[in-house]
Symmetry: C2
Subunit: 151 residues, 2 copies
DNA sequence: TGTCTATCGTCAGTCTTGCTGACGATCAGC
DNA sequence: GCTGATCGTCAGCAAGACTGACGATAGACA
């Protein structure tokens, strides 16, 4: 991705939701990559860890559903985390078709530290909006995802 | 892309800016594809047309810069639009290394009609926010792109 | 009990999107 | 008129995600 063009007032591009979302997201992805680089995980991998860490162990498919990724994509995600010793797969006792995926102690530890870095990065990213507007912004995004999705 | 997971209150995922932006953008991309399908152009192709239509003819590279795409990507974009008879390349008189790209009458016409459809789609997309919040949302996005980018 | 269908994890293949590196043509400075 | 930069093009590569198929397992039902 290349830097967006020079700024122009009310603009044929910055009037487009698609353009705005895409480029804002691209900038966040960059910041995120920079912030997580010391931990050796991508933003998505961290999200996987976060989902796995939030409650009881869940199956691969369940995790994929929570994250909104395809189950075939989840295979590779878990592969990589397992290779790094951050998660463990084991066959479910209740349903032996399922892989239950759980954090290892290393995984727990990395999750905690990387989440802290992510939160710092997000605060910095939203800083130009000011606190009140930043909070509102996140709320509106959430609203679009929930209300829009269930229409 | 798969539908995001079930809604849960304050959430390890919907607290993530990355997750929110990515999925909101994905939903918009779907809506956009649906809205533009009758016109046979993608959202990005329409953005190209819009940039080309907004002022004097510009070079391919200049257009790429405005759009924030790589110049090699621009080749393919213009290729496709030219094949469909929506734009015309010609060698610049001033600098014969440059391709000046201009809308054809067909291109102008399609631009007008498709832009109308896009605006309708965006209004519907933002509808859950209400008018005032929708406007604010766009303003905040613009702010993030501009202020963040120049830091 | 045995059969039939659905589910889960996996893999191979494919498509899309974007980038890198190289090339020829052209320009601009000297 | 050289020399180094710029522009458009192309081929090749890499990441991300999806499709379709497969084997293993589970659950329903006769």
């Amino acid at each position: 991705m290349v830097e967006p063009g020079e700024r122009v007032g009310a603009d044929v591009l910055t009037d487009r939701l698609g353009y705005l979302l895409k480029h804002v997201q691209a900038r966040l992805a960059e910041e995120s990559a920079r912030a997580l680089e010391p931990f050796g995980v991508s933003g998505r991998e961290l999200a996987v860890l976060a989902v796995l860490g939030e409650s009881r162990p869940i199956s691969q498919l369940e995790g994929a559903g929570r994250l909104g990724v395809d189950r075939t994509t989840m295979v590779g995600l878990v592969d990589r985390l397992e290779r790094r010793g951050l998660v463990e797969r084991r066959r479910s006792e209740q349903d032996r078709r399922k892989n239950v995926v759980a954090l290892t102690p290393d995984g727990e530890d990395l999750l905690r530290r990387a989440e802290e870095a992510r939160r710092r990065m997000e605060r910095a990213f939203l800083e130009p909006l000011g606190d009140a507007e930043a909070e509102r912004f996140v709320r509106l995004l959430r609203l679009l995802l929930n209300d829009g999705g269930s229409r």
